[in-house]
């Protein structure tokens, strides 16, 4: 059977937490409903509120009660519709870690508009645009596949343009994006690790290296890229995308 948590958590505000869970458990023919209700309350860390009325709970707590309700009949599959919407940051972190914990024993299907959330908690991401699946993979693979490159950010004491010409001399670098104040990003083909050479040539060219780290494309960027492929007209109007475009149209080196 399936456990389901709709976007607006369906609760009876005039019932106590325990009464509500026992009622839901009875409706689903769960054996020893009271014990089971207490167990799921423990799973969502709410056992101290079992005699409180649902109407008096905060939004984050209600969300957790909703989750508890979806877990009552030990479903193999759990469907959550935007479980963190409308919560404050600490509650979001709470609910996310709870989802990760619960996901270890069962399949969780989660719909969300917050892409960093999907990146954080999901093993597999499906991006849907206008009712069609436009991408399906693990977040890591999705990132790698879509960038097709590895990106590294550098910060040095000195001039970005000079730095750019130094890095351009390194074989394997496919794209260089200079930023002001000695900051720069470059890309290499996936699997071709030239970081050691680049670092050496920066030092030997006399720069003081301040920062050197790999950058991952966020799911947001991937999402936009995918949608752009799907629908160009929609994205041209979007400022976030055009700034992204500008970055991609950096100096290209063969």
């Amino acid at each position: 059977m399936i456990g389901y948590l709709p976007e607006t958590v369906p609760l009876y505000p005039e019932m106590t937490v325990l009464d509500y869970l026992v009622f839901m458990a009875d409706l689903r023919h769960v054996k020893q409903s009271k014990q089971r209700a207490k167990d799921v309350l423990k799973m969502v860390n709410m056992e101290d509120r079992q005699t409180g009325y649902i109407g008096n709970l905060s939004k984050g707590m209600r969300q957790r009660i909703g989750l508890a309700q979806a877990l009552l009949h030990e479903p193999k599959v759990l469907i959550l519709d935007e479980p963190t919407i409308g919560l404050d940051p600490s509650q979001i972190i709470e609910v996310r870690s709870l989802i990760q914990e619960l996901g270890q024993e069962r399949t969780i299907l989660l719909s969300t508009h917050i892409l960093s959330e999907a990146q954080q908690v999901c093993n597999r991401v499906l991006i849907i645009n206008k009712g069609h699946i436009v991408a399906e993979d693990s977040p890591e693979h999705l990132q790698a596949r879509l960038t097709g490159a590895q990106r590294v950010a550098i910060k040095v004491q000195g001039d970005s343009d000079e730095l750019a010409s130094v890095i351009a001399a390194t074989p394997g670098v496919t794209l260089i994006l200079p930023h002001p104040n000695g900051e720069l990003e470059f890309e290499t083909a996936l699997g071709e690790d030239v970081r050691a050479q680049v670092a050496k040539s920066i030092i030997s060219a006399g720069f003081d290296l301040l920062e050197f780290h790999t950058v991952n494309l966020s799911l947001e960027e991937i999402f936009l890229q995918l949608i752009r492929e799907e629908d160009d007209s929609f994205l041209d109007s979007d400022s976030a995308v055009s700034s992204h475009k500008n970055r991609r149209e950096g100096i290209k080196y063969a």
Binding site: P6, T8, P10, M15
Partner: protein, 244 residues
């Protein structure tokens, strides 16, 4: 069957954890008490024939006519609005179990109200000699139970139509009053359809039989059919919601 009882029990509990139950019982008893007192006093001073339990039952029916739609309006409308109906419908509960559960919950609550009105019967029994007519008392209460069941099924049906409680209340009240008054045009017209319209009249089946101490199978059948009809309509409304 288990689902019906689960739902009915929750409904019943809801009346008693909120002030609803106590207010309704208090107000009902207070109004009945006033009427009861006036009747006793009038009979005592004017040396009438001693009053029967009818002095309580008549007003009680009128009170129920208004209190039933008010108490049943939230049963399904509230759940539609808050989205909990979705939750109940995704659990292994059949539509008819939901409707009957809702009806039964309200029915048990009304049985509690009816039980509290026995104080008047007991009191009357103490006042008048040689005590009250117990056959009349029992037939009146049997009639009241059937009548209330019918009212509640209309209220639950009206609640299944809307997600707005006020709309459900007035629809319920409208249907109830229609059944209450449908016999009147037939009296005035005196033409075709008299028998049919006066047969539909919910009051005729009470005041011309149970109220007078007569238990007639045709009246019992009338109420049971009415209950079944409106519960069926309510179930149909829930089913329609599933298709949408």
């Amino acid at each position: 069957m288990r689902n019906i009882w689960t739902i009915a029990r929750r409904e019943l509990k809801l009346y008693f954890i909120s002030p609803i139950a106590y207010i309704v019982i208090l107000v009902t008893l207070f109004i009945l008490g006033l009427i009861f007192y006036v009747n006793i006093l009038a009979a005592y001073m004017q040396q009438y024939t001693p009053p029967t339990i009818q002095v309580v039952i008549g007003p009680l029916v009128t009170i129920f006519l208004f209190s039933v739609p008010a108490l049943t309006m939230r049963t399904i409308a509230e759940e539609t609005r808050s989205g909990t109906l979705e939750l109940v419908m995704t659990s292994p509960v059949r539509d008819w179990e939901l409707i009957i559960g809702k009806w039964l919950g309200a029915m048990i609550f009304y049985l509690v109200i009816l039980a509290t009105t026995w104080v008047f019967a007991i009191e009357l029994n103490l006042i008048i000699t040689p005590g009250i007519d117990q056959g009349l008392l029992i037939s009146n209460y049997i009639g009241l139970i059937l009548l209330t069941g019918f009212f509640i099924s209309i209220g639950v049906f009206a609640s299944s139509l809307f997600s707005n409680q006020i709309a459900a209340f007035f629809t319920g009240l409208g249907i109830l009053l229609s059944f209450w008054l449908i016999g009147l045009p037939s009296q005035a017209m005196g033409t075709f359809g008299i028998d049919f319209l006066s047969y539909l009249d919910v009051g005729n089946h009470f005041y011309n039989s149970f109220y007078l101490g007569v238990i007639d199978l045709k009246d019992v059948v009338y109420y049971l059919t009415g209950i079944a009809l409106f519960l069926f309509l309510g179930k149909a409304m829930i089913e329609i919601r599933r298709w949408r």
